[in-house]
């Protein structure tokens, strides 16, 4: 059975979507059957995955409303093993209305359930707000990956994100684990960046990914090319860092699989 990882953060601009797309592409390049689900109505992940220009009639919204199955909605990306569920572009009202029904937070989980066995990894990209779509993504996920920009104010907001996630997990009784905290836009030459990473590792140990995503011009530019950086320039510093992250995630999963009753920790 595959692992569903929700990329989530309270704060915008921390590299959620870049992380979701490049991580998904890196896992796919490693031969893992991967599904990227774009839960953000802005559709940035759909765009960067390179399927934006194609004519796809169906989006995540159709899946959430039970109008189409996953097989009909998913679209092949530029990476062989990577499939994408396009975002419900701007049409969130109907999806939001689902929240009034009891158990509505499980709608994405139910949608993915029938076909999720096929995938080794399902990566869920979420909006910055904690609305219905984010809640659905959390309910569908096995674990959460929290990208955090490696600077003071973003680091401060990490506590709030963590508290919110724990509150949601408990309120909805979700079996959600922390995949890890991922530092993005790291400037290794900057004293504060080093300070934050060192302190986080000292206090939180294995909850912080070893991989650091550097502040990188190519990563910032990558959306322009409508393809993940790991595809656009696999030898770039940014691409290598996401490949390292994918390797770390696969390694952790192997390690966890060998530890019964200690799933995902």
């Amino acid at each position: 059975m595959g692992e569903t990882i929700c990329i989530v953060s309270h704060k915008g601009g921390v590299g959620k979507t870049i992380t979701a797309v490049n991580l998904a592409a890196a896992l796919a390049l490693a031969g893992k059957r991967t599904l990227l689900v774009d839960c953000d109505p802005q559709g940035s992940a759909t765009y960067i995955a390179g399927i934006y220009k194609r004519k796809f009639a169906l989006t995540l919204e159709d899946g959430l409303l039970g109008r189409a199955s996953l097989n009909r909605i998913m679209s092949q990306s530029c990476v062989y093993y990577l499939q994408v569920i396009p975002a419900p572009f701007g049409r969130t009202h109907q999806a939001a209305n689902l929240s009034s029904a009891p158990g509505a937070e499980r709608v994405l989980k139910n949608f993915l359930m029938d076909d999720s066995w096929y995938f080794d990894y399902i990566i869920l990209d979420t909006p910055a707000s904690f609305g219905m779509l984010t809640l659905s993504a959390l309910a569908a996920a096995d674990s959460v990956l929290i990208p955090t920009q490696c600077e003071y104010l973003a680091y401060r907001s990490l506590k709030q994100t963590m508290q919110t996630l724990v509150t949601v997990k408990n309120a909805y009784r979700l079996s959600l684990h922390l995949a890890g905290i991922l530092f993005t836009m790291v400037e290794e030459d900057a004293r504060l960046s080093r300070l934050i990473v060192r302190s986080a590792r000292r206090r939180m140990g294995g909850r912080v990914f070893e991989t650091l995503i550097p502040r990188n011009e190519q990563l910032r530019e990558s959306p322009v090319y409508e393809r993940p950086l790991v595809v656009q320039d696999i030898f770039s510093v940014g691409a290598k860092s996401y490949i390292a992250l994918a390797a770390e995630i696969m390694k952790r999963r192997l390690r966890n699989a060998s530890k019964p009753n200690n799933h995902h920790r």
Binding site: Y155, L158, L165, L176, L192, S199, R203
Partner: protein, 115 residues
């Protein structure tokens, strides 16, 4: 020689008006600085004009102004009222970036225990 008599009330009123004008021109921040320099009084709660007089200083006319200065003096005394000394508040240690980051890390770590 003609003798002019001026009512005491007129003198008092003129003097009062003069000191009102002087008072409005006094830089109270400078007075606080003088209190700190001359008397070591720093935490002044209030500074009020009390009275003033015209004096001769070094052959020149000057205005002597008196202020009521209120400030708290924290003292340490025992149960019998004996003075043990003055209580000086410990200066607040300025939080360093290291301290602040460490605090956030600890709080985030605590929050992450919920997983």
């Amino acid at each position: 020689m003609a003798k002019v008599t001026i009512s005491n009330d007129i003198v008092a009123t003129a003097k009062k008006e003069l000191f009102e004008r002087i008072k409005s021109n006094i830089n109270l921040d400078r007075v606080r600085e003088i209190c700190a320099d001359l008397y070591g009084v720093k935490d002044i709660h209030s500074l009020d004009f009390k009275n003033g007089d015209i004096v001769v200083h070094d052959g020149q006319i000057a205005y002597k102004i008196e202020f009521d200065v209120r400030f708290a003096v924290p003292l340490l005394i025992d149960e019998e009222g004996n003075l043990l000394g003055a209580h000086e508040p410990e200066p607040e240690a300025a939080a360093t970036p290291e301290d602040r980051v460490e605090d956030i890390s600890q709080q985030t770590s605590d929050a992450a225990q919920g997983f």
